[in-house]
């Protein structure tokens, strides 16, 4: 028997699944709705992109707290400039990520910090948004569920899909943070082999 709460949760789950698999055309409809006076629809875009965007910003600014601030500022700026967004020039996510990258790099400059990487463009590109066909999505999800030992799957899911940072994952699994880093590295190596 379903309770009211579980039905509501199921509906929320379906809604979020719809948002996360939103197609470009749906996204255009969403943007048109926002611009015609429905700001609440912007939550669809925030829900869809925020975890990836926070991960992207964290790679640049180096801390999850600062990354969340930067990502939030980017969402606000994108919302304020939404009437200037032109879908013919690229995807919303690409535009949003560039706004965020700009804010993140400005953040580093303001705090007199530097990114120590060999190639900035390659570094930034690694977490820029990409699009997967349904089949590709399923392949990635399957590869993650097959990771061994199971801890590897847990860290990947927690970081990339649940939006948790390394410290939170370490606390949850009762494992030192450096072990989490090692598992993450090894898990990604396994995935690279599986998805090559």
């Amino acid at each position: 028997m379903f309770s009211v709460e579980s039905l509501a949760q199921a509906e929320t789950f379906c809604l979020h699944n719809r948002i996360l698999t939103m197609k470009d055309q749906d996204e255009q409809t969403t943007i048109a709705a926002i611009l015609s006076g429905h700001p609440e629809r912007y939550a669809d875009l925030v829900t869809r992109y925020h975890i990836g965007l926070i991960i992207h910003c964290e790679r640049i600014v180096g801390s999850r707290d600062d990354a969340e601030d930067v990502a939030q500022e980017a969402f606000i700026k994108a919302y304020q400039q939404l009437h200037k967004f032109n879908s013919k020039q690229g995807r919303f996510s690409t535009w949003l990520y560039k706004i965020a990258t700009n804010i993140a790099l400005d953040f580093l400059r303001r705090h007199k910090r530097q990114l120590r990487v060999d190639n900035l463009d390659d570094f930034l590109e690694a977490t820029m948004p990409t699009y997967l066909q349904d089949e590709e999505r399923r392949a990635v999800q399957k590869a993650v569920t097959e990771l061994m030992p199971p801890e590897y799957r847990k860290v990947i899911e927690a970081y990339y899909w649940h939006g948790k940072n390394y410290q939170q994952i370490a606390d949850e699994l009762g494992t030192p943070i450096n072990t989490i880093r090692t598992w993450m590295r090894r898990a990604k190596l396994q995935l690279k082999g599986k998805l090559a």
Partner: protein, 381 residues
Amino acid sequence: MKSIDSQLIAARPGLPYTTQLFVARTMDIVYNLKPRRNWRLSHLSKPALIALAIAALALISGTAYAIYTFWAQPAAHTQSMQQNQYGRTQAIIDLHDCFQQPGSATFEVKKGSDLTAQDIANTVQAQCETKAIESWGHSLKPNVNHTTEDINITPGSELADINGAVFTVNFDGAGNSSETANKDTVFVDKGFKTNKSAFKKGDAVILISDNTYGPQYGSPLTSTLLAVVKLSLPAKYYSAAMQNSLAERTPCAGNIADTCLDGGASIDVWPRGEGSNDSAPAPVANSLRIQGQIVSHSGANFVLKSSSGALYHLTASRDVISEFNALYAPNYQNATITVGDMLDVRYNPPATADKKVRANQIVSIKLLIDFTSKQNPPTKY
């Protein structure tokens, strides 16, 4: 080739319960944003366009200075100051030409701050002026292609040095940054066009630049200084410390007989976001908000007394206050929640005459704190 990171992000399944807090917080700001005016003329009829052209011609041939006024210079005056029911200094500020703001607004001064009536008015005026300049700055290049360029507007900063064409500014002691003026750079003094000689070390300024980027985003390829704007007040009024000393009191969303503090800091009581299994409903467009002091708390039930003195009876999904005190307060210097503390609650409709809010309506519960800086321990409001 797609990186493993980007593939993992793109393959994220629908897992709504973990990061709703970020979404809710961001949407909270979005809902409170004032609508931006879009000055495109394409929607105007032909007679309206002709009338507008005639008006523009009249303006150009009329007063000489009018065409150089880039924005109306805002002014703010403290009309009255008093202690409110929370023991805080509260000021009613008269506003003139404040960016998209009505004629007066109420601001509350943070505890421990010793701002004078003049300081409060100046700090509000600095806010209005910054908004007007930001709007003007973006209008300098309205058709910016955000995939390759962006308009960068500094916060109000102190002009640390002028060396030839190089302007160096310092914001809140956070380090210097420099931009170089060119032949097209516009110099503005309080809304009026001026020239470079009007600027001197120590002035409060805003720099507006046009940054361009390569196909792969990184540091700007070029940065063109579009404008140097001299501000009307000393730099300290534009600083984060001053701006954070004030919070505007506005009618609470959906409960307009009560006022809520805007832009204040808070600690999440429920939901706790990452790491918890809390599942709060997403805020709907017409969600309501109330702030009030706890007058009683028993299990999942608590009663808040709002600014108007009304009592709101709320029922959470469980005893989230005791849970916060036991599990999370130690993370915040033992800021346990007790009767008398101030909570901020956002909830979805319906609003009922008896001001009862059920568990399945509650979107978030926050403990209000006095923000000083991220580094300092939180102090309860």
